[in-house]
């Protein structure tokens, strides 16, 4: 540490030490970031090496089979796509509406704090517990059987807290003076929310939605719990049909003894990751577009 050259100032010019600290911190952060990237890379590499040779049209367009060469993920892929669509349709409106209500409309009293606390807790409940709830309520209670809709409803329960929390944060971060501008023009709360708050919060909400949906399509435990099938040789025609999904197919193949099936699982993992990637890319694109509009 040097004394400042400008004598008489009460500052100690420890710029060198401060810069060193900043550099150290940056290196540390970069290191941790790259560690994550490298681990992901290794994982992808492993799956790629094992699975890539199985990845062809035949694999995508065949139903599962006892014979690895004839086996494919047609039903699992369709099941997963069905699930994503149904989960999105069910959970997004409910969760965003809940977030909007809690943040913009409800009085900030004890009850709303209690609800808030409970939602945060729900976001941390293990997924298997949601599976049990889904089994009891949707499969048995509502007699929806082991259908896509049972799975989608269960998964929606699972991810709604995550979407609600993310949406609330996004809504909260919309500057309050935008609301005031709208109110001062004689807008109602609803008009203000719909025209200004929601559009401004949209990028944040979308991020939450995509994170939550990504989690949902990778979840296996709740689907097994509600009894999604592991061997499905038909395509679901509607939400009431039985189904399987990619993670279940992967789980099923991994638990077989033959090496070929392990490689099929690796190929299915690549497909699952590709689905995730497409979803995320779409989200980034939409978010970018909407942010451009806000600028």
């Amino acid at each position: 540490m040097q004394k400042s050259r400008v004598s008489g100032t009460p500052y100690i010019d420890n710029l060198v030490a401060r810069r060193r600290k900043a550099r150290l911190f940056r290196t540390l952060c970069a290191g941790v970031t790259w560690l994550g990237v490298v681990l992901l890379g290794l994982l992808l590499y492993q799956a790629g090496v094992d699975g890539i040779k199985w990845l062809d049209w035949q694999f995508l367009s065949s139903f599962p089979s006892r014979f690895p060469e004839k086996s494919g993920i047609k039903s699992a892929l369709f099941g997963t796509l069905w699930l994503i669509a149904l989960i999105a349709i069910i959970s997004i409106p409910i969760s965003v509406a809940t977030a909007l209500y809690l943040q913009e409309f409800s009085s900030k009293g004890r009850i709303s704090r209690l609800i808030e606390l409970n939602i945060s807790n729900l976001a941390g409940v293990p997924s298997i517990v949601y599976g049990i709830i889904g089994l009891a309520i949707f499969v048995r209670g509502f007699q929806l059987e082991r259908s896509l809709i049972s799975g989608a409803l269960t998964m929606s329960l699972l991810i709604s807290p995550v979407i609600i929390i993310a949406s609330r944060e996004a809504i909260k971060s919309v500057p309050v003076n935008i609301r005031h501008a709208a109110y001062a023009l004689g807008a109602t709360r609803w008009q203000t929310s719909w025209s200004h708050v929601l559009p401004a919060a949209f990028p944040g909400i979308l991020t939450g939605v995509i994170l939550a949906l990504s989690r949902a399509i990778g979840e296996t435990a709740p689907l097994i719990m509600i009894g999604a099938l592991t061997y499905v040789a038909f395509l679901p025609a509607g939400p009431m049909d039985a189904f399987t999904a990619l993670p279940i197919q992967i789980f099923n193949w991994v638990s077989r003894p033959q090496q070929e099936f392990h490689e099929l699982a690796a190929a299915a993992i690549i497909v699952l990751l590709a689905v995730l990637l497409v979803m995320n890319a779409a989200a980034i694109y939409i978010r970018h577009k909407s942010e451009q509009k806000l600028k």
Binding site: A181, A187, K295
Partner: protein, 268 residues
């Protein structure tokens, strides 16, 4: 602190009378945040189709008072109002007043520019649209922007984002947005604080023009502006009304010593 005497305790009568009919009437208005009074026992009328300026040092409660006039304080947590404000004889805080309808008729321009993150056009057209304006919006948008002395700068980029405007342009956009609603009363909280002298004089010209149709209440730190533009002036200090009267009289022969010190800049 003898000069701090409240006018009501001094020589001024309790009911300050003005020549014109009043559109708003404040009676013993006290506004508190969490029990702490920011405006204390203020009474004065606001004359219809005139410009009333509110002056006073920073933090004296000008914005608080202004926000009470179109019930924007409703959105602040834990704020309470005592006394009455009547709007054309009706209690502004009465049960049968709908604050949403009220704000349509009493518009506001805020201290900090707050355009919507939308196009310039949408900023102006949104208010009239949600309130069921039936005539062509294009004309209204143009007219409002012309009034706010912004049209020439934005006429070729109406569909660009309002956030691409400079701070002063944004403030004029906010003025245009408020004007598009053709309110009875326009509340302006230091509308010119971010503007250059030229735009400021545009806005002052605008105020004169608008006077025939609108009642304007303007908060300002600019003594020249208050003296030039307004018909009546209210001088607040620490939440109290020190003096209210015709602007000309306030700036030439103020009744209170504090007023004189403040308007001549010998304030301390």
């Amino acid at each position: 602190m003898t000069s701090m005497t409240h006018p009501e305790q001094g020589s001024e009568s309790k009911h300050i009378s003005i020549a014109e009919p009043s559109i708003l009437d404040l009676q013993n208005v006290t506004i508190s945040y969490s029990g702490k009074a920011a405006v204390r026992n203020v009474s004065f009328p606001i004359a219809e189709h005139k410009i009333t300026s509110i002056i006073g040092p920073s933090g004296c409660g000008k914005s608080t008072l202004l926000r009470a006039l179109n019930r924007m304080n409703d959105f602040v947590d834990d704020v309470s109002l005592e006394g009455t404000i009547s709007y054309l004889g009706e209690n502004l805080y009465g049960k049968d007043i709908d604050p949403v309808t009220l704000r349509r008729r009493i518009g506001m321009v805020f201290q900090k520019p707050n355009p919507f993150p939308k196009s310039i056009y949408r900023n102006v057209s949104w208010g009239p649209q949600i309130n069921g304006y039936k005539q062509p919006l294009d004309d209204l948008v143009e007219h409002s922007l012309v009034q706010a002395a912004l049209w020439n700068e934005v006429k070729d980029r109406l569909h660009e984002s309002a956030l691409s405007l400079s701070g002063g342009q944004q403030q004029r956009l906010c003025i245009a947005r408020a004007l598009a609603m053709s309110p009875d009363i326009l509340l302006m909280d230091e509308p010119c604080s971010a503007l250059d002298p030229i735009s400021t004089s545009h806005i002052e010209d605008l105020l004169f023009e608008l006077k025939s149709q609108y009642t304007i209440v303007i908060v300002t730190h600019n003594m020249q502006q208050a003296a030039r533009a307004s018909d009546y002036t209210a001088f607040l200090e620490m939440g109290m009304l020190i003096e209210f009267g015709a602007t000309k009289q306030m700036f030439t022969v103020p009744r209170q010593k504090r007023t004189e010190e403040y308007v001549t800049g010998r304030f301390g």
